[in-house]
Every structure is written in structure tokens, then in C-alpha cells.
Subunit: 320 residues, 2 copies
């Protein structure tokens, strides 16, 4: 739990009505509005253009309203029977392109590859800060998926601890590895190749499929075919394949559902964990179109109702 | 994960656009439309009226589209490297009143007490089926909270296993109990009474407060002040107090936010667990107004961003 205490919402600050159209007004992520964001961390730019001016293709800026702050030490203090921890961490925004109305699926393959390059570069840079134990890259696209700005962007968060649900996933994979001496994700790939029916796309280096254990209808995972623990260590020559696949699944989902909201999250190994080998963990991207609402049943049980079996979802996506 | 295989959704079955107004047409839960639901399980009725006809105040029916089915045995089978379990269980709907446009907060105290009586009665009855290990009572109110019908109703699910997140909560409470020899929830009540600032309402038998560890802004918990493990064993003389409190918090939330969507879930002890004492677990109701959207950050980390601290939320609700 991370609580905003600096500038807390009041009831009237919430948009609790059914979602409206995006509010009009200048977009801080658009070309020409570079001064509306905090000063840029890095950008892919035309030669000779200055930081925080036009001339960029991909631009990374600190989040103006970060969930976590980079300054200060990690500190825990008791509050009666409760514990408080300061919300240390980094929170960056990758503005994917100058175009307000172009999502990843509308960009050129090479433009998507540039965005992926930027993910890697920022993750590798954040890793140098030894306080950080986990870097999470994720995207909220569309109001329904929790995006507060329409202009396509990805978020990168560096955390001083490994989140509990990541820990659990890693522990599960480790238990499987100890028992079978094989990576569970490599086994999943073998099983999916054999079953075929849940595969959405495949190329030389990556596979996209609707996982057997989907939590959401039309959930899609992208996974490197060859065992790899760290997203940001993806070999440069594989990036074009990954770009084609990421672009491809978003295009397919939009073909099936129109301009639907979605989230994706990159699941990767913890960093700065003192050289612990990660033979048992295999990075992957989890893509979730926002088609259903999580309700009391899911919150109460942790079971997710999936009204479309993954085999059928994959079929629709393959044929799109 | 529970997958619908009998009548799976196709892409066009999803309402993936931003939520619309409720579709017009006859409501199957309204007075006079009793034949639109499966045959009633039980109802509070005027003397002399027949089942599945008008004359009722509270009516319980099987869910027409159950997440789980009561018939059959619990069966597990392998599917390659995966496991499948048949989705056994019961899924019932409590139609709270004949009034399509009256939520709990608009009913008389005695009418809300009748609904609570019905919850208890159904939970106690489902408990008799030894296959069931957990009964979960929850409500989705409003489209944004996942309700598919507008007419106010509560859902009751009986499950053949204790869900993982319930197990974890119970294990946490047990660890605390073993360490301190006190119930963690009783300690929370003591702490809240001392701090005062997170309390929303209090009466003789119950307390409503915004928990220190809220996952959602304006989250409210209702808890019996005296240690009690099982919701459905609430003493009859406490029911009016509980009715006033449940009605009261919904009225306050609606005063602050207007007609906002919400979920509530009753957290109680597992059943048919062969007489395991539950000194360490304390039932409570978790109420969550639907003000924010769960996005990539929450899905990926399990951390929830709460933009309003619980102390401030409680203040707004107290003053409503």
C-alpha cells in the first residue's frame, strides 16, 4: 500500500462518474509542449536539437506525479501496531512517439524497436542504483485501463524491494525448477507448441499465446523462446522480432475489439540480488485487454472468471 | 481461474466500449417478473402467497449464469502439464427488495435487517453440504463495480476449497495470534478506538472505519467489536445494529460521491474445517467504492495506490 499524503485527492477530485471523453486542452506529451513535463532524462533526437525542445522520436521524463520518489533513504517506522515505509523509488514515463493518436500498432516496426531500446536503456541505468531491487515496465492504455493521459506512453518504476506477487511467481518457478530441473516457462512453451491451439503469433525468437491460466479473457503472453531471465538483456538482434510481435498482438486485439483499453506488464527477474542465478525464471510480457471488470468475486476469492476460454480467444486473434 | 466452457463469450458479446446506460427492457428481478428467474430457493413472503409469484420482500434464487455448479463431484484431471478442476459450487442471488431503484441505503432499517437474516439463513444452509469449505457473500452494485443487472442484489457463493487469498489472510491472523496471543483484528479495533481519526461510525456492537492498510480510496471495514469468527453466527440481537451500520456507510458514501458504484465482500471463517478453532480470525465486511481503476502498477506489484489517506477519507465520511 502506498498512500499519497502530499497532495491527497478530495472527493470532488475523483472522476467517479462513468468515464467521459478525454478532456480537451493541450497534451503535455505532445510535440512542442516539451516544457509541460519535468526536464527530460533522455530522448532519441534529431542531430543538433536541444533537450526539452522538439526534434525527438522517443522521450523519457520523470513522472510529474510519481507513485514513489527517488530522494531519501529507505526508512521504516512503527505507528502504533502499524508499519510505515517511505515510498522511495523512481517513476519515469516513456513518451512513445510525438503522435497523440498513434498507438504502438500504428507505428513503424523500426519506431517500436526504438521504444524497446529505450526500455532496455532505462532499465539498465536504473539497475546501477543499488537501492533498487526491481524494475517494472508497464503500460496503461485508455481511460478504462487506468491511463490518465491519452498520449501513448509507458511507465517504468524502480522499487527498493521485490513486490510480493513477483516474489510469489519467482518462488513458484523456483519450486518447479527444483522438482523437475527445468524452467516452468520453457515447459509452458513446449506444451503450447505441442497443443498449438493457444498460440496467437510466432516468429524466430518469440511466441505470443493465450495462457492456459489466463486471469482475463483475451490475455496474451509474449515470451522469448530461448530461456532468458532478464528482459533488459535481450540480445540486440532479437529486438526487431520483439517489436513485430508486440505491435502484432496490439493490432490483432484492436482488429477484434476496436480501440479497446489495455494494460501490459513486463515480468522480469529482480535486480541487485547479489548474483543469484535465475535459471528458473523466464521473462515475459503479460498483455491484458480491458474487457471485463474485476468485481466482488475476484476481489474476495482471487479467482478470476474468464468468460472466453484461451483456446477460443487465440483462434479469434489468429484469424484477425 | 474458472473458465466458462459451456456458453463462452464471443468478441461481440463483450461490452468493451465505455460503459453505457443500463439497457432498457424488463428486469428479471422486479416484482411481477418472478418467472424470469430460476425457481426461488427461499423468500420472505406475505402469508398465503405462492413461491415464484409476487408478495415477497426478499427473494433468493439460483444464479441463472452461475460461476460454479452444484452438481457433480469435485474432480481434478491433468491436461499435459496443466491441471483442471471441475467448477463445483453453489451460486445464489439475494434480490434485496422488490424496488428496482432502492439500494440498501434507501430501505427501512427493518428491511435491511431482513436481508441480513437471509444472508445468515442461506450461509447456514449451504454449510450443511460438507463438500463446501467456504461461503462468500458479496455485492457488486453498479456497472462500474461489475454488476450486470441494476436491480440491487447480493451474491452468495459456496466453494469446495478455501480461496488462496482468504487462506493467506487467515494464516497472517494465525501467525499474529501465535506470536502475541491476541486476535489481530481485536488489536486493530483497539488501535482505531485510540487513534479515532479513521473511524466513520460506531454503535454498541459494530465499528466502521477506513483501514490503515486500505487498498482503495474510501475503503471502509465494518467489524463486530466483540471477537467473532463466523459472520453467520452473529447473535440475532445484534442484527439491527449491523443493519444500521451497513445502511449508514452506504448512505454516507452516496452523500459524498453521489450514486457511485461499489463492491462489498464479507470475510468470514472457512466452514466444515473439522472443528478447527478460529480464535485468531474475526469476520468483517470490506466495502470498496469504485473510484479508481486498477491499472498496470497494481496488477504488476500488488501494491495499491491510494490517493486519499484513510484519515481524510474517514473525515469526509463522518461529516457527510
Amino acid at each position: 500500500m502506498i498512500v499519497t499524503t502530499d497532495d491527497p485527492n478530495k472527493p470532488e477530485d475523483y472522476d467517479h462518474d462513468e468515464p467521459q471523453n478525454w478532456r480537451p486542452g493541450a497534451c503535455p506529451f505532445c510535440y512542442g509542449n516539451e516544457s509541460s513535463t519535468p526536464s527530460e532524462i533522455i530522448a532519441i533526437r534529431n542531430n543538433g536539437t536541444a533537450a526539452n525542445t522538439p526534434g525527438w522520436q522517443v522521450r523519457v521524463v520523470p513522472n510529474k506525479f510519481p507513485a514513489l520518489q527517488i530522494e531519501g533513504d529507505l526508512e521504516r517506522r512503527p505507528l502504533g501496531m502499524y508499519d510505515m515505509t517511505s515510498g522511495i523509488g523512481a517513476h519515469e514515463i516513456v513518451i512513445e512517439s510525438p503522435y497523440h493518436h498513434k498507438d504502438l500498432s500504428d507505428l513503424l516496426d523500426s519506431e517500436v524497436a526504438n521504444i524497446l531500446h529505450m526500455y532496455f536503456q532505462r532499465a539498465l541505468d536504473l539497475e546501477k542504483d543499488r537501492r533498487f531491487k526491481y524494475v517494472m515496465i508497464f503500460k496503461n492504455n485508455g481511460h478504462g485501463a487506468g491511463a490518465s493521459l491519452e498520449h501513448p506512453h509507458t511507465q517504468i518504476i524502480a522499487l527498493p524491494m521485490v513486490p510480493k506477487i513477483v516474489k510469489e511467481e519467482i518462488r513458484g518457478a523456483k519450486n518447479y525448477f527444483e522438482y523437475r530441473e527445468r524452467c516452468i516457462f520453457c515447459d509452458i512453451i513446449r506444451q503450447e507448441v505441442e497443443d498449438k491451439e493457444r498460440i496467437v503469433m510466432e516468429n524466430r525468437n518469440f511466441m505470443a499465446f493465450c495462457p492456459f491460466v489466463s486471469r482475463f479473457p483475451f490475455e496474451i503472453w509474449i515470451m522469448p523462446k530461448k530461456h532468458a531471465s532478464y528482459f533488459c538483456q535481450t540480445p540486440v538482434e532479437q529486438i526487431p522480432d520483439l517489436a513485430v510481435m508486440l505491435k502484432g498482438i496490439i493490432a490483432r486485439v484492436k482488429k477484434v475489439f476496436g480501440n479497446t483499453a489495455y494494460n501490459f506488464i513486463i515480468h522480469t527477474s529482480p535486480i541487485n540480488s547479489d548474483g543469484q542465478a535465475m535459471d528458473s525464471y523466464h521473462w515475459h510480457l503479460e498483455f491484458m485487454p480491458k474487457l471485463t471488470r474485476v468485481a466482488g468475486f475476484e476481489w474476495g476469492t482471487g479467482f478470476y472468471l474468464v468468460p472466453t476460454p484461451p483456446e477460443l480467444a487465440a483462434k479469434f486473434l489468429r484469424e484477425a
